[in-house]
Structure formats: C-alpha cells, structure tokens
C-alpha cells in the first residue's frame, strides 16, 4: 500500500475531522481568492478606464472632480460645463501635445423615446479625439458617419430592433468597446454631428428635447508632449485658465481611490486575522487528531515505518485536504464572483472588471499554494512532534 493511498484512507476514515479541515481551507481559500479577485478586478477596471480615456491630464469645470469621477465610474450624468475656449487655452500651454474636448449628455429617464434610461452620452470631436478615433481606425477602418454610435461593452441593440432609439432618433451601433468595468461600459459615444441630428429630431420625437450646449464643453482631455512634466503642466493650467480643475491621470478617480484604500486596508487586516484563525484552527484540529492517533502512528513506526514516513503520511493527508479545499473554495468563489459581478458591482458601487484567464490562473495558483503552506505550517508541528515521540510511551497512551 502506497503512502498516498494510506493518507486517502485516513481522510475517509476520519471523515468528520477531514470535513472540518476541508471546510476551513475552503472558506479561507475562497475568501482569500475572492478578496484578491475583487481587488484585482477593481484595479483592472480603474486602469482600463484610464487607458480608455488615454489622457495625461483631464481638465474639467472647477470643483467638479467628484461628479466627474462618479460619472465615469458609475455611468451617471455629469452636468457641469465650462466655456469651449478652455480647450484652446489649454492647447497653448507649453508641453501640451494635443487636446480634445468632450460634452457629456444623457438619455431621458424611463422615456419611450430612448432605448436606454439615463445612459451617458459622450460627444467627441473626431478631428481632435484620441480616445475613440484610434479604436475606430483599428476596428472599423473608417470614421463614424452621422447617425452612427459606438457603445461601451454593455450597450446593445434591443432585441427585435435594428436601431437604438435616442430621443426618438434611430442610431446605428457601429461597434462596442472592450469592457472596462466602469461607467464607460454603459456609455454611448457619438460625434457632434450625430448629437446635433438627435437634438434636432428630439424637438418632435422625444418627450423632452435634447439640448447640446453651444459654446460649452464638459471636459478637455490633454495629451502631453514626450518628456513633459504632467504636474508642471497642470499647475500652468491652473495659473492660465480660470475656473477649471486639472487632474493628472494618476490622480483621476482620486476620491474613489481614497475610499477603496480604506476598504482594501480593512480587507487586508481581515485576511490576516482570518489567516491566523485558520492556521490556529487547523493546527488545533490536527493536533487533536494526531494525539488521538498517537498509538496508531506509534504502531506504524513499530512495524517499520520511518519517522519520515509518518511525517509524510500526516503531511500527505493535510496536503490533500488543503489542495481539495483550496481548489473547491477558489473555483466556487470565482464562479460566484463571475455570476454575480454586476450585482456586487452595483451593491458596493465598485468598478469591477473580471480578471483575465491568465490573471485568474495566477490568483488560483497563489491561493492554492498559500492554502497549502497554511495547512502544512499548521500540521508540521504536531506531525513532527508525534513522529519524534518515544514509541513505547506513545503506544502505552
């Protein structure tokens, strides 16, 4: 009989104890991986959102940082506006390579004339844009025509329709951007010409007409020249352009980052506490188990098993339980997160992008190894102690 079979038989034989350890590892590994996936998913989402904007600096109306962040992250409407000439002023600042202005609008709430309720509409300028235009070139191979839109990953043509209705005006969905897990996924991108066409049509077709602000914009996306210092440029924007806020790309979503930093810290502390509890719990269960089996393990040595064999047989039991529990915990948590990612994102107001298969594989691997190390650490002391006990004394107990 091989060591592995001996370990499996003992796992089956001491079913209750095995189940308790298995479940401890399952819960621990599940929480560990779950937390990591959420953190990773949130970070990926923020990074994808930043990448989508493609700007080094975003200029917005003064004191509108929170509204802007929230609008981008959760897909709500940002109604703050600033004069359109801000774009020209920003463009003249040294170090700025290019600027592109955007206007943020929204569909109506619960109106029949709109396929989607309260969905953000971003109007961009194709002549200067560096957010959508590069995507159009590589994916569509042509500019957007009037009446065409690009949707975030969650925008779709309603079943049974050929078009998306915006204020009663039918637009064609020319393509969907990749998911970012942010509000950009629920956003519709269009050119000024399409926005004007919708506004014109809405006068007769919509419950409320769409107003495209004239001479006003919502934001200016700024791309810097190579080597330009973003911080210095943003200070110059503050000095030269009144009543605006210039947010450097790494500081974008700053309010949200501050909020989640606290949350992540709490998660981290919780994980450490959980790890210590799991370690202690598993060590205690195994300690009790090997104490109960002291005579059995002594007999094993008496009939010819080495200390090393006894140690390995106990570690093999622990490892099988650890890997089994970790695998199920990790797979179960991942499946739950995958199925309920939208729900969780809404509940916790978190931007969330489910990690890629490669990232998941790494997280799974780390989770499994961590669970294995935890169990082996927890088991090592009682197993080592029992393997060194004087046989004659152990057999008498």
């Amino acid at each position: 009989m091989r060591l592995i079979h001996f370990a499996i038989r003992n796992i089956k034989g001491y079913g209750f104890r095995s189940l308790a350890i298995f479940l401890s590892v399952l819960v621990f590994a599940g929480l560990l991986v779950g937390t990591t996936v959420i953190i990773k998913g949130t970070q990926s989402s923020l990074n994808a959102g930043l990448q989508r904007l493609g700007a080094n600096i975003v200029v917005i109306p003064q004191d509108a940082e929170d509204t802007f962040d929230t609008a981008l992250l959760t897909g709500t409407n940002d109604k703050n506006l600033m004069p359109a000439d801000v774009a020209l002023k920003v463009a003249s600042i040294p170090g700025v390579a290019s600027v592109s202005s955007q206007i943020y609008l929204s569909t109506l709430y619960g109106a029949d004339c709109c396929s989607f309720s309260e969905t953000p509409l971003i109007v961009f300028d194709p002549s200067t844009d560096f957010t959508i235009t590069p995507w159009l070139k590589s994916h569509l191979g042509r500019p957007l025509a009037t009446g065409e839109i690009i949707g975030g990953s969650s925008i779709f043509v309603p079943r049974g329709n050929q078009y998306i209705s915006l204020y009663g005006y039918n637009v064609t969905l020319a393509g969907n951007l990749e998911a970012t897990g942010t509000g950009l996924d629920q956003t519709i991108f269009m050119t000024q010409a399409t926005a004007q066409a919708i506004a014109q049509s809405s006068l007769t077709t919509a419950a409320e007409p769409l107003t495209v602000p004239s001479g006003e914009i919502s934001s200016v996306l700024v791309k810097l020249k190579p080597g330009a210092d973003a911080h210095k440029v943003s200070l110059q924007i503050y000095e030269n352009v009144p009543n605006v806020s210039a947010i450097e790309s790494p500081n974008l979503f700053g309010t949200f980052r501050n909020q989640i930093t606290g949350l992540l810290l709490a998660f981290f502390v919780l994980m450490i506490i959980l790890w210590v509890v799991a370690l202690f719990l598993i060590a205690m269960m195994f300690s009790m188990s090997v104490n109960e089996r002291k005579r059995e393990l002594a007999v094993l040595r008496a009939i010819g098993a080495t200390r090393n064999y006894v140690l390995r047989s106990v570690l093999a039991e622990a490892s099988i339980l650890a890997l089994g529990g970790a695998a199920l915990g990790v797979a179960g948590t991942s499946a739950l997160l995958y199925l309920f990612q939208g729900f969780l994102s809404n509940i916790f107001k978190l931007p969330f992008l489910f990690p890629s298969a490669a990232s998941l594989a790494i997280i799974f691997g780390i989770g499994g190894i961590f669970a294995l190390i935890t169990v082996v650490l927890a088991v090592l002391i009682p197993a080592s102690r029992i393997s060194r006990e004087e046989l004659a004394i152990a057999m008498r107990e």
């Binding site: 009989m1 038989r9 034989g13 007999v299 040595r301 004087e390 057999m395």
Partner: protein, 238 residues
C-alpha cells in the same frame, strides 16, 4: 539470534524519582526458539520486549539482533530492521481502523520503495488463508471478532517473512478455545523456523515454550524446568 547483554532501562520521572523496569538483564535466544516470559503486570515484560525491538533505547547494556548492536543504529536503520527482521503482535488492538484486513496485512511491505505489491498481496492472502480468515480480507477491522483481529495482527507480523516475532500478551481478551488456536498458529510458524518471544501473564502458555522465563524484580529468572508441570509451584504462580 537475539542477545541482551547487561540491559537496564530507567525512566526518570523527576529530579528524585527514577523507575527501573528492567535491570541488568542478560539473555541469549537462538534461532527457532519459542521463548515465553511471564510476570505480573508492571514487572517490565513489555519494556523488555520493546528493548529487544529497539523501540526504546537501553540506559545501560546492549541489544544485538543477528550480532548487530541496535545502539549503533539510526532511526531509519532501526525502522528497516523492524520492518524486515521483526514481526510484532501487540497487546492492544493495533490494526489500522481505516484499512481493510488485506491492506492492514500488506501495510508493512509498502514502507520500502522496492516492494512488489502484487507479490505482497498474494503472500497476504496465503497468510490469511493459514489464519483461516481469508474470506474476510476485504472487511474493516471493526467487523472482526477479537480473535479474528489477533489473527490479522499475526498475519501482518509475518508478511515480510521476519526471523523474529515479538508477541505481547497474544492471547489476552480471548476465550480459551481461541487462545489455543492462536498459540497453535504461533507454534506452527515456530516449527517452520520463526523465532518467537512471547510475554504473557497467562501461565497456560508456558507449555508452548522451548524455554521459559519469569520477570520479577526487574530481572529474568529461568523457569524452563517448570514449563511442563501440570501444577506450577506456588512461587511461580504468585
């Protein structure tokens, strides 16, 4: 085959108290003998058996198996010796509860990397057949009677064809008929060349011995001359 030379075992309980279950014991056991050691509970019989198997190290003196001093062996060498040369029949239930009868018997063959499991299984079936319980090879120990469990333990002790079997109270908790059956089995293997050392408080087992000893005051006394008497002397019974 087995030599105990001036063997003493002490256990230190605390600073002042030391107990000495075995004191200056000398014993030579030749191949093919069936030695019976009797004595009251706590007389040191089991400690003597454990010393013989290298399960405990003597405080003084040496134990030799086939002229090899156990004191010079490390853990893995002692394990290998116990595995290949010594079979154990323990006083307490010693079968592994989660393994079947067959798995219990072949277990000692799996400790070495080179063991051939098919051969071991065949040998185990032969042993179980000789013990009269081969039909129960697939059941768990808890489904066996005390006598059947003892037979499985004997089969396990013999699986690696050891030259020596150390049996600690092999007939304890057994009825008279089963006791005879078990001892007859030991005798059968003894006649086939296996050396047995049996420790017991059951005087009835003396008649199976080639030599008999009494453990008293931590020392051995040869009582072979009394082993075939129908009525044992009073000092032996006490």
């Amino acid at each position: 085959m087995i030599t105990l030379s001036g063997v003493t075992k002490e256990y230190r309980l605390d600073e002042q108290r030391v107990i000495t279950p075995v004191r200056d014991v000398n014993l030579n056991i030749a191949k093919g003998e069936l030695i019976t050691i009797i004595g009251r509970s706590g007389s040191g019989k089991t400690t003597l058996l454990n010393l013989t198997a290298g399960l405990v190290k003597p405080t003084q003196g040496n134990v030799f198996i086939d002229d090899v001093n156990l004191s010079g062996m490390d853990d893995s060498q002692l394990s290998a010796l116990r595995n290949r040369k010594i079979g154990f029949v323990f006083q307490f239930p010693s079968l592994f509860p989660n393994l079947t009868v067959l798995e219990n018997v072949i277990l000692p063959t799996g400790f070495t990397a080179k063991s051939e499991q098919k051969e071991a299984s065949k040998h185990a079936h032969t042993l179980l057949l000789n013990m009269g319980i081969n039909e129960k090879s697939a059941v768990l120990p808890r489904q066996l009677s005390a006598g059947e469990q003892k037979r499985v333990v004997i089969a396990r002790a013999l699986i690696n064809n050891p030259g020596i079997v150390l049996a600690d109270e092999p007939t304890s908790d057994l009825d008279a008929q089963t006791e005879i059956e078990i001892m007859e089995l030991l005798k059968k293997y003894n006649q086939a060349g296996v050396t047995f050392v049996v420790v017991t408080h059951n005087l009835q087992l003396l008649r199976y011995a080639t030599r008999a000893f009494k453990m008293e005051n931590n020392q051995l006394t040869d009582i072979t001359q009394f082993k075939n008497l129908n009525k044992l002397p009073l000092e032996l019974v006490s």
